[in-house]
Amino acid sequence: MKRSNYLYAFSILSTIVLLLSCRRNDTRFYNDNDHPGISIFSNTGNNVLSCFIADRAWRTVDRTTSYGRITYEVFIRRSSSNLVKDTMEISWHGFYADSGYRGDQLYLYLTMPHNFTYKDFRSLNGQRLHIDGSNGYFASTLQNQNVRGMGNIYFNTAQIDSIAPGLKRGEFSGLFDITFPSLKIANGRFDHTLTTEQLTGF
């Protein structure tokens, strides 16, 4: 093999390695001056949820792309539980800001009309809901306990669109608070963009 061929192969390989090793962070965390430790309330697609859990700041993991693999902070899943109502599960993956453990999850199970589609997600836009068990519930794996809680959630934006066959894009943002039996979540705010990979069952 000629020396120029080695150089050519080396340059191609280097380019591939460089491209694969690029790490992109699509989360933008802007600290709230009125509530230090959590992010501002926004609807610009910052891809973060944050709140205070018993006065400790908790936030979702960064949405990152590394070696072509994307880590998402939120997923939405639609499930048909019975013939009368369906359920929409929103799951957030995060951690306490003062802790290294990143395995905590926060859930919202919301009762939705039977056979609802991605287009019906928009019906949440501008809605403030009191989640009291009859229309859904919050859940978490915080403190290694599976607990259910009640609370309030406000959707400032909620939209999913079909941009091509099999491809969807959306956004949702809002505020929430939750009361679990042993702890309280306050000052919750979320702001996410959505892609097909984050949506299941739609």
């Binding site: 009125d34 501002i40 610009t44 309030n152 400032n156 505020l175 705010r189």
Partner: protein, 218 residues
């Protein structure tokens, strides 16, 4: 290093021309933002030390303080508590102040008679600009959507404009208009609803003679 070179160059020029005619020039003025939304306006007050480097070229050092006139805006805040109204409009005050230190140059464009001169102005300097944001709202129950925050930037800036100078028996009166860049620099990347000013500045001033030139003494 760049700042040091600029300072040394300035001192060198001043020393080289220390025998030239010099003036102290108090100035006052007004400036508004040339940005599209044109939110901010300021009053100026400052002092210049000017040296004639020749009949058609002057150098001056300027210190200009720009005082803010408040900009009143509104944002939306939301309550998660179902017993409260969902939306409340909150008042927002933004005050932008700036302190600039610049080296300026006057180049004669046209002289009419013996007392009226038009100059082209060129400014380069350092500017410290602060935009202070304050909200008045119920922080316990409401959360502001996409809030603005106080921002500060220190950086070099440039400006150019025109100046009219009227020579009087005991000094000079002048009026100028110039456009400045915002302070250059990265600053923070916070998604504010405003940006740093690109001011259109209109000032008047008076030149007080400090000493006479050699040809005037003769």
């Amino acid at each position: 290093m760049k700042k040091l070179i600029a300072l040394l160059f300035t001192l060198h020029v001043l020393m080289a021309y220390s025998s030239a005619q010099s003036y102290i020039e108090p100035i006052i003025g007004y400036q508004l933002d040339l940005k599209k939304d044109n939110k901010f306006k300021q009053f100026n007050a400052g002092l210049q030390y000017s040296i004639a480097l020749g009949k058609s070229h002057e150098l001056f050092l300027m210190c200009l303080n720009s005082f803010s006139t408040p900009y009143h805006g509104t944002d939306s805040s939301f309550a998660i508590n179902p017993s409260l109204p969902l939306v409340q409009i909150v008042k927002k005050d933004i005050r932008v102040k700036a302190l600039a230190f610049a080296v300026g140059q006057r180049f004669t464009l046209k002289t009419i008679g013996t007392n009226n001169t038009f100059f082209f102005l060129l400014l380069t300097g350092l500017k410290i600009e602060t935009a202070s944001v304050t909200y008045t709202y119920n922080k316990n129950d409401y959360t502001i959507l996409n809030p603005d925050v106080t921002r500060k930037r220190t950086g070099f800036y440039m400006g150019f404009g025109l100046e009219y100078v009227r020579t009087l028996p005991f000094g000079r009166m002048f009026a100028n208009i110039h456009i400045d860049t915002p302070p250059f620099g990265k600053g923070n990347v916070y998604p504010s609803s405003f940006s740093f000013m690109t001011p259109l500045s209109m000032n008047i001033g008076y030149s007080i003679k400090l000493k006479k030139t050699s040809y005037e003494k003769k």
